[in-house]
């Protein structure tokens, strides 16, 4: 198989991190490349590296410059040294990392009590609540990245017919709330201020500090929502 290494750019993120950037876009193939590189760079154990963090179409490598100071030659900065090391790794082809791709079924109750914004979405987009539920549960979403809050998953992409801009001002959101922002959908694992339009709530605990792996989702997961009743929610 011909492996073409996608085009990327490396730039500094202050003086303690660099970013590998594949362009400012939401794209499944690009995100898969990001996840493969995340696995590769995490396992590379580069000196001075504190952690590697993937996002939609870019990933950051955080490092502690004093640890790398002696390794570089005097003519170059720590950043340039790190950039070279990372560049050498990126020049090696890697297989698409399939290990993180699981299918998770997430029960969601879309009833009014748990969906403060579903009526407004229905009115704005001129679509019935039933159709919103049907469309939201019809797609299998990809978890592109985790961020914003511990365990918060950015998933995409929702049908254009239920896509809606986030609120201009954040409001208090209950843990488990399922929201839409643009073509993204996501679930608040913890109570938090937030601007996503809330259309339902899951009874599942998405972030459990007592667990060794506290977050339910991982980037790369596939997610299927299923609609449950208030009664099922209460007895979940």
């Amino acid at each position: 198989m011909n492996y073409v290494i996608p085009a990327y750019r490396i730039f500094p993120l202050g003086d303690t991190a660099l970013v590998i950037d594949y362009g400012n876009l939401v794209d499944e193939a690009v995100n898969k490349e990001v996840m493969s590189r995340f696995a590769q760079l995490k396992n590379a154990n580069l000196p001075g590296v504190i952690e590697v963090v993937p996002a939609y179409s870019s990933l950051a490598v955080y490092y502690h410059p004093p640890e790398v100071w002696k390794k570089r030659t005097r003519a170059m900065t720590v950043y340039e040294w790190m950039k070279d090391e990372v560049g050498q790794l990126l020049a090696q082809p890697v297989a698409n990392d399939q290990s993180t791709e699981r299918l998770l079924t997430i029960p969601v109750c879309y009833e009014d009590e748990f969906a403060p914004d579903i009526r407004a979405l229905s009115a704005t987009k001129n679509i019935s609540v039933e159709e919103i539920i049907q469309l939201h549960t019809a797609t299998t979403y990809r978890v592109y990245m985790l961020g914003f809050l511990p365990g918060f998953s950015y998933m995409g992409e929702v049908d254009e017919r239920i896509s809606i801009a986030r609120k201009p001002q954040p409001v208090n959101v209950t843990a488990g709330s399922v929201g839409i922002a643009g073509r993204q959908t996501g679930i608040y694992p913890l109570a938090s201020p937030g601007g996503w339009q809330i259309i339902g709530r899951t009874p599942l605990k998405l972030f459990d500090v007592k667990k060794e792996e506290p977050a339910l989702f991982k980037a790369g997961d596939k997610v299927q929502f299923i609609s449950i009743s208030k009664n099922e929610f209460a007895n979940y």
Binding site: L13, E51, V78
Partner: protein
């Protein structure tokens, strides 16, 4: 032995150098706002630099020590007293049993750090003692300190013979307290990836005008106030990585500087980054104070950070030597 909180402060939490390795799950590093000061506090009392300390905001908590202890206070100067008598910052202090430590006002800075020799016996979460307030985990039961909380201290060393009959004793060695004078007044910055989104006039403004820290500033970030800055492109930034010190341009043209509790990713243009060597100074600014930005090079930023590390190492060696002498003399 216990350290008891006899009066709650406005926001006093257990912190350390931060929690790394969880950002891919959205768990932000957190940790002390002024990590340099937190490390100095530990060094002064002979602790590991990453040991848990208490970060204090003013009005700060009041503490009661059941047994003798060796403590230090660094970072902000909140006019500390032991049993009513003023004690200095940046010096180790031996306390006799039943001592009361209080703070009386802001002389300087925004966050003070209290370290106790031997450290605090708190549970780590994901290898860090830092309090994660949003997830309610880490530090002292995942929350800020309240009246009547009792923190167990790890030190088992009997300091009674050292302190003798005195109420307290300020030990004769100190950390540089002119840390804010080390560098020029300007906040040194590096251009961010979206720097070129600013119009030429806005770039000039950013480098020449003062930016005032507003009251909408906390451990997550400082919102700054100035003439609005303009962007040449309105294209949205897909959520992408940020860092401590990242300065983002908000849709209303104002800037926000990301601090210890910043989110792991952001969707606003990253126009500049405050260099690491300036983070300590940044963390000690209060609402109303002005920031002036000046561009520097990565080479300079790295050299200044290394200088800071070397300074801490020297301080650690000196303090270790003096502490060993003191502790072995009895």
């Amino acid at each position: 032995m216990n350290l008891r909180i006899i009066k709650a402060g406005i926001l006093d939490t257990v912190q350390d150098a931060g929690r790394y390795g969880g950002q891919d799950l959205g768990i932000n590093p957190g940790g002390a706002m002024d990590k340099f000061a937190a490390r100095v506090a530990n060094i002064l009392v002979g602790n590991d630099q990453q040991e848990a300390v208490i970060e204090l905001h003013f009005p700060a908590a009041a503490f009661f020590f059941e047994l003798p202890a060796l403590i230090s206070i660094t970072g902000a100067d909140f006019i500390a007293s032991v049993n009513g008598e003023e004690v200095p910052v940046n010096q180790p202090i031996l306390l006799s049993k039943f001592s009361i430590l209080q703070f009386h006002g802001i002389k300087d800075g925004a966050r003070a750090y209290l370290a106790v020799h031997g450290g605090l016996d708190v549970q780590p979460w994901l290898s860090s003692y830092s309090t994660h307030l949003r997830a309610a985990v880490g530090g002292f039961h995942g929350r800020s300190l309240q009246k009547d909380d009792e923190i167990v201290l790890k030190s088992t060393k009997d300091l009674c013979p050292l302190i003798g009959q005195k109420e307290f004793q300020v030990l004769p060695w100190k950390a540089d307290d002119n840390w804010r004078e080390w560098m020029e007044k300007d906040m040194l910055i590096l251009p961010g990836n979206e720097w070129d989104r600013l119009t030429d006039i806005s770039k000039e403004k950013l480098l020449q005008h003062p930016f005032y820290i507003t009251t909408q500033s906390d451990r997550m970030g400082y919102r700054l106030q100035s003439d609005p800055l303009l962007s040449v492109v309105q294209e949205e930034v897909i959520s992408s990585p940020v860092n401590f010190g990242t300065v983002q341009l908000l849709p209303d043209g104002q800037l926000i500087v990301l601090m210890a509790d910043h989110q792991t990713a952001g969707g606003y243009p990253r126009v500049v980054h405050v260099i690491s060597a300036c983070h300590s100074r940044l963390a000690q600014l209060q609402p109303g104070e002005a920031i002036r930005f000046r561009i520097t090079s990565i080479a300079t930023a790295e050299a200044l950070l290394l200088q800071q590390e070397q300074h801490l190492l020297q301080l650690q060696n000196a303090c270790q030597f003096k502490l060993e002498q003191l502790l072995h003399a009895y």
